[in-house]
């Protein structure tokens, strides 16, 4: 196991490095004019723009820039934002934004798991009856209707009916309710859908029939066999879900004006903020690799049939 972990760690580091260097170099292929908003291009002459770029170190050779960035990283310095929040230290930005997004992400993840799994079990328990129809209706609604429509409906009308705020305020807990609900809607549907499917699969397997014939109660078979086996394929996603609570939702954070990380990467790419893009990409690459790695470890821990190394 220790050997496996070491091997995977080295592989993970290599993967992150390849992703990061590729993104870093691709960013340097972008046109120089992209570093300036249109109004600035119109206001300044070419020489002034070049002077600015030189002062920011953007005219240096990409390998020099890469070396400088790695050097900064080892000193614990993530650099400063270039265009999105000019000169603001990126560490400050992330320290401001990640906790907000993570709090919402964590709350919605817990709600998504608890309600999603409950709904999934309800659907299986009342298969082809009201519980199943209710759940199917909910899943269909969430997945088929474009999310902007119901999110907007919740923000404008539900807030009016329940007398809640339309936007988030950090000092008013009641204003957190609607964004958390909105963030959870999709994951509730996801967990319910897949749990139902896996449980129905398990229900029809021979070992279940055998257990029932053997005299185990239906409740016992459900709890100790069907649910346990059905949840295993979902467990693998939990570490990634947990780690990516910091990535935020562009739409919901924009609607409720949550000052989090949702949309930060998109904005940074759009405004060609190389420094910010490379830090966020590095962060997400690490989280992705770590998420998959932890998922593998977790599934091995919960399912004794799975081993990560070849036992001899």
């Amino acid at each position: 196991m220790g050997k496996y972990i070491l091997k995977r760690t080295l592989n993970s580091i290599l993967t992150v490095m390849i992703v990061f260097v590729a993104v870093f170099m691709l960013l340097r292929l972008m046109p120089l004019s992209g570093y300036f908003p249109p109004e600035m291009i119109k206001e300044t002459d070419e020489a002034t723009r070049m002077s600015y770029l030189r002062n920011q170190g953007l005219l240096d050779h990409p390998l020099v820039q890469l070396g400088r960035f790695i050097g900064q990283l080892f000193q614990g310095n993530l650099g400063r934002s270039l265009t999105v929040y000019p000169k603001v230290p990126i560490a400050t930005l992330l320290a401001e934004k990640i906790p907000v997004t993570a709090a919402f992400g964590f709350a919605s993840m817990i709600i998504g798991i608890v309600l999603g799994l409950s709904l999934g079990m309800l659907m299986v328990r009342f298969k082809d009856r009201w519980g199943d129809h209710l759940g199917t209706g909910y899943i269909l609604m969430v997945r088929a209707i474009p999310s902007l429509i119901y999110l907007f409906f919740i923000q404008v009308w539900v807030s009016l009916w329940l007398n809640l705020d339309m936007v988030f305020y950090d000092d008013k807990p009641t204003s957190w309710i609607l964004p958390v609900i909105c963030l959870s809607l999709g994951s509730i549907a996801w967990y319910a859908l897949w749990l139902r499917r896996f449980m129905v699969d398990e229900e029809n397997k021979d070992y279940v029939k055998f257990a029932l014939v053997k005299g185990l109660s239906k409740k016992q078979v459900w709890r100790e066999h069907i649910f346990k086996n059905a949840i295993i394929p979902l467990v693998i996603y939990l570490p990634s879900d947990l780690l990516f609570i910091i990535s935020g939702s562009l739409v919901i954070e924009t609607l409720y004006v949550i000052p989090g990380t949702g949309g930060l990467l998109t904005t940074a790419i759009e405004k060609q903020d190389n420094n910010l893009v490379q830090v966020i990409v590095l962060m997400y690459a690490v989280l992705s690799v770590l998420g998959v790695f932890l998922g593998d470890l977790l599934i091995a821990a919960v399912d004794p049939r799975i081993t990560l190394t070849e036992d001899k």
Partner: protein, 642 residues
Amino acid sequence: MKRMIAFLLAMVMMFSVAATSALGEDVAAAAEAIKQSKTYETTYNTYFSSSYSSFNYFSTAYATVREIVANCIDGLVEPDIYGVYAPSLAEDWDVNEDQTVWTFKIRQGLKWIDHNGNETEYALTAQDFVDGIRYIGDPKNDAYSLRVVRNLISGLYDYYWLLDDIDCGLVTDKNRDDVVASFDEMVGVKALDEYTVQYTLENSAPYFLSLIESSMLMLPVEYDYAMALGDDFAVDNEHMLYCGAYYVSAFERDKAITLTANPYYWDKENITLDTVEYQMIPDGTTSLEMFKRGMIDYTSVESEAYDSLQGTEYADNLLPTSHSFSTNYLWLDFDGENAEFKTFINNENFRKALLYSMDREVLAALREPVDPARILRNTINAEGAIYDSTGKDYTDYSPLKEIKETNYNNPELAREYMEKAVAELCDENGNIKGVEATTVDYLPVCSFDIDGKLPVTICYVGTDDEEEIIMAQLFKAMIEESIGADYIDFQIQAFAGWTYGTVADPLNYDIYFDSLSTGYADPSGILTRLTTDGAENVGCYNVPEYDALIEKALAAETFEERLQYFAEAEAYLCGNGFVIPFISSLRGYYMSNSIPYTSPRTLYGNEKYKGTLVMAEPLTQEEFETLKAAYEIEREKALAGE
């Protein structure tokens, strides 16, 4: 008989003056009654729609910061409620005869305050204004939008580029520190004593006060404080100092900003609001809903929302936005790869055909559905932005006045001009002379085939913004209908990744839509950028006649002569279709809980909250009209010196 007529005329005039005066008094009384009948709040709740990326007023490229800075850092002068420049941090000022040396007397005893509203040890002196220029003059400080100020203040251009040459190794025989130390000798801004600052300019600048109002680069800075912070200067509210009516007491990035009244402010008695609470609301629907729920005191109302409010309780609260000095125009590519368009756009008749082919009112109705005519604009510089010493509007100088008043919606004339262009540029079979069939490469935007024959293929490139797409479709319909689809094949490319660097700069378009804004009270701000080698001539036209007129304007001896040459130059550019302005950037309507015309009438700078009166309920149209009428009468009297 003549005496009788003269007597009667005199009587009529007397009665009309008396009647006007009586009417004026009635309006003033009605306006006063409105103001008296209200109770006023001490907090103003408003919003911002895009992020405040930084508060660094010298180096931020984003316009949003101006809103905060206008209230937190005072300049030397500011407009009064009638728009006349009045003392601000300068108590008094003086200018020499040719308006090249401006001397300002600074208020004494003022200190910079911090984000807690406490006075710091830093006194506000003339040196802070000198240091503002010192800060922007160093390329390492990345000052934004330097061009105008750098070219105007004597010696600043040479100082800046000398430092830059040293930084990039072009000059090696001079030491950077020595050059920085020589700032006071090299650059035409001096602290004559602790409270007197003097600017020496390269050229006569009668508009200098308006530049002080509009440009953040003319603001003061506490240099030692800023330099000690380095890159951290003004990245948030805690890393800057304040000398305006308010300071930023709380700042949550991308979320909220609180302005609190400066307890040490020099004009404290005119501060009517204790607090201004900003919150970020990126979309118009949310701001409208929040205004209805009483959460904010102001909201803009876009044209779609305007229609939805008709027949509701808010219909009576919709007020028209007053002015915008920004002009929307069509930018044309004179040197692109599309040989069909290139051949035609360099032809005067074709440009005039385009000029006369659009019904600008229909385009304007997208933004102003009620009275689209009020946002039409045929000139680049806005009407009401620039006046000569006699009060004559710049756009009333001939021949610009004729351009301003022309109705360009004339499909017959458009077709006529096109036929002339076709006669000059095509053979009898409709082949465009000198143009071969080929593929035009405007990638990453698009690529398309041209056949070298009529109709002329035009590639219009816009963003994927919904309103812009509708506008592009209207352009297509109008141009193809007026000039004729047999002559024009108007293709629309809505490019999702639209940036200046991918579309405009590499000439990946034939026509696109952009805007220009009159930044201060002189046409040079825009017009000098539109010359053949000007920064704004991204379409690469060649206009020696225009360039010559600009040269003459810049060398003119009087301001009136200068305006005359500028008016001729602008008329040349617009009348010949090198640039096609069509509407102002004004956007529809708003609703507000504040009484209008009580704060400084800022034309070129941003709104100031000093003097703002905020009510608990929205202002109605009737109240607005009464207050406006009373204000106009008062302003007229004030400008006449009564």
